[in-house]
Amino acid sequence: MLLVVRDLTVALPIGGRLVPIVESVSFTLGAREILGIVGESGSGKSMTSLAIMGLIDVPGARVSGSVRFRGRELVGLAPRAYRALRGREIAMIFQDPMTAFTPVYTVGRQIDEQIRVHQKISRADARSRTVRLLGDMGVPDPERVAGRYPHQLSGGLRQRAMIAMALSCNPALLIADEPTTALDVTVQAQILDLLRGLRREYGSSVLLITHDMGVVAETCDRTLVLYSGLVAERGPTGALFAQPGHPYTAALLDSIPPLHGPRPARLPSIPGSPPVPAERPAGCPFAPRCAYAHEACAVRPALVASGVQDIACVLPAEGRPLPPRFVAEMSA
């Protein structure tokens, strides 16, 4: 296993006390695998990725649990050792490629910089690798693009350049935090295509953070659903989408308007909104919005295996798992 995360908890000081934003999140990521972490805003998905990168710099924040990357413990790693890892073995791409590049330097210079920080090679060699990487990412006329400033490029080109930068030192793990959210849908399709190809071309594993169930379905081998900082469900993407085990996963999938098949008169929606971390219920965090909530939900459910999935819900153990999901036939 490339990455083993055990009981990762991230607590931030809010109003004078430590509030766990992410609570006991566990998952593994194998070589050449794409794992999707999906959740709504406030689910803790970005915080999880920043914790793995060691980039949480809120004063007073506490990260506990274990993150083992290639057998090496990252929680509590010395800053200098972490720096050598970041960008070289674990790289990250961000949501908005416009603001994620420093506006006053050319993208080529910023990619060169990452290469030269981790490897002793000449400026010219770094630039030629930059140009090659940009070309590999499908950037037309990569030499010219390397000499351009971020604002001079389109959103799609910027994100390709961002991915080129992340891959510049051939990292074993790529964390992509909402990499397509700021992009148009046709460009999003291109970038997802590119990400899927990475494991083939570069042998990288990808941790894909997103709010979009569609993106997960089309891209990830396995999926982790977060709700209010806790794992609701995890499992192989195919199984999870065909038969979601957690009522939250099922309700979330149902609330997406279908693009094919009959139009529902009303969209099945989830009432209310997710709790803020400081007011998370003691029991199942989803219980207040859940159609299946009952007395047993007053106790926080553990993650239990149900078929190929792991589900933080009492329903399977009570012998009444959710029915398989109805999916309308897709007409091409």
């Binding site: 709504e40 805003s41 389109s154 959103g155 799609g156 080109l157 148009d184 849908v185 046709t186 460009v187 999003q188 399709a189 291109q190 997802l192 295509d193 709010h211 979009d212 169930m213 569609g214 993106v215 997960v216 379905a217 089309e218 891209t219 993407t237 195919g238 989408f241 065909a242 309700a251 979330l252 999938l253 609330s255 997406i256 308007p257 279908p258 693009l259 094919h260 139009r263 529902p264 009303r266 969209l267 099945p268 929606s269 989830i270 009432p271 909104s273 997710p274 999916v327 897709m330 007409s331």
Partner: protein, 331 residues
């Protein structure tokens, strides 16, 4: 093309050859809207879809004359409002309202929800003339809270105390305060989480049924647009490329761009067969759109004619209109 789609019986709002150009430095001109014509019938929901820079938001604003179009006409309920002086436009403004994407930016954070929603009631005279009394306004506020599904207690609170979905309900309540006939919603659910998005989409649909509203619904999300719209206009680089019944357009797209757009939407379904190859390239700059058909640079079925001869919107047998020389549906 001279035939204007304003032939059906008295549309609520119609645009004819609408143009919007912006000067962007050194004599360059950005054509945000390049001759857009459409009409919206009473009780209809027209969805405007397209990628960034296609002009869908600009069109929404031009329809309400929140921005002054550079050319063309907008006719609301038989009145040409394109050049109407602001004084005479004012009474009509009550009948057409807008809901924006950013629910927070649209609400003054220092005022209570009650004041925010009541504001249009205070600045516009009552239908029979004269100003509304305090009691009338209070009654209307209570009614509006019920309509949008917020508790009465919300009136005394401030915008920041609400979640994104609730704030969007407040915005909708404010837009509905004067009982408009037309609501233009610009990406009203784009900033919301999926589970909340469904609530707001349902609310829009309920309100249409209960109040007989007419919507122009601007969104980039095809699935949301399909859910709510009766008709759909697909825009690309400042022009409509396809316009027709929502089900027809989205199930059997005639324009290659519509087809590509639909194919690109990631669906929450794990497919067994491979994904279609994505469309190449980026949307060209609206400052220098390609000659001929605007879409030919990315079109998988473009031929020589498409590179020189710009297609105009023409009707297909099933009643929809498409701007393509070689539509994907037989004519």
């Amino acid at each position: 093309m001279t035939r204007l789609p304003v032939d059906s019986p008295a549309p609520l709002i119609a645009a004819q050859d609408l143009r919007m150009t912006y000067r962007v430095g050194r004599g360059q001109v950005l054509r945000a809207l390049d001759g857009v014509s459409l009409s919206v019938q009473r009780g209809e929901v027209l969805g405007l879809v397209g990628e960034s820079g296609c002009g869908k938001s600009t069109l929404g604003r031009c329809l309400l004359r929140l921005v002054q179009p550079s050319g063309g006409r907008v006719v609301f309920d038989g009145t040409d409002i394109t050049t109407l002086p602001e004084r005479r436009l004012r009474p009509l403004r009550q009948e057409m309202q807008m809901v924006f994407q950013d629910s927070y930016a649209a609400l003054n954070p220092r005022r209570r929800v009650g004041d925010l929603v009541a504001e249009p009631l205070r600045v516009h005279p009552a239908p029979g003339g004269g100003w509304r009394s305090r009691a009338d306004i209070a009654a209307r506020l209570a009614e509006l809270m019920d309509l949008v599904g917020l508790p009465q207690a919300a009136l005394a609170r401030y915008p920041h105390e609400f979640s994104g979905g609730q704030r969007q309900r407040i915005n909708i309540a404010r837009a509905l305060a004067l009982s408009p006939r037309l609501v233009v919603a610009d990406e009203p659910v784009a900033a919301l989480d999926v589970s909340i998005q469904a609530q707001i989409v349902n609310l829009f649909m309920d309100l249409r049924d209960r109040l007989g509203l007419t919507y122009v619904f601007v969104a980039h999300d095809l699935a949301v647009v399909r859910q709510i719209s009766t008709r759909v206009a697909v825009m690309y680089l400042g022009a409509i490329v396809e316009l027709g019944e929502a089900d027809a357009v989205l199930h059997r797209p005639a324009h290659p761009y519509t087809a590509a757009l639909i194919a690109a939407v990631p669906e929450p379904v794990v497919r067994t067969e491979g994904l279609p190859p994505p469309l190449r390239g980026d949307v060209p700059s609206p400052i220098a759109p390609p000659p001929g058909c605007r879409f030919h640079t990315r079109c998988p079925v473009a031929r020589d004619r498409c590179r020189v001869d710009p297609p105009t919107l023409r009707g297909l047998p099933d009643g929809r209109e498409v701007a393509c020389h070689y539509p994907l549906v037989e004519t």
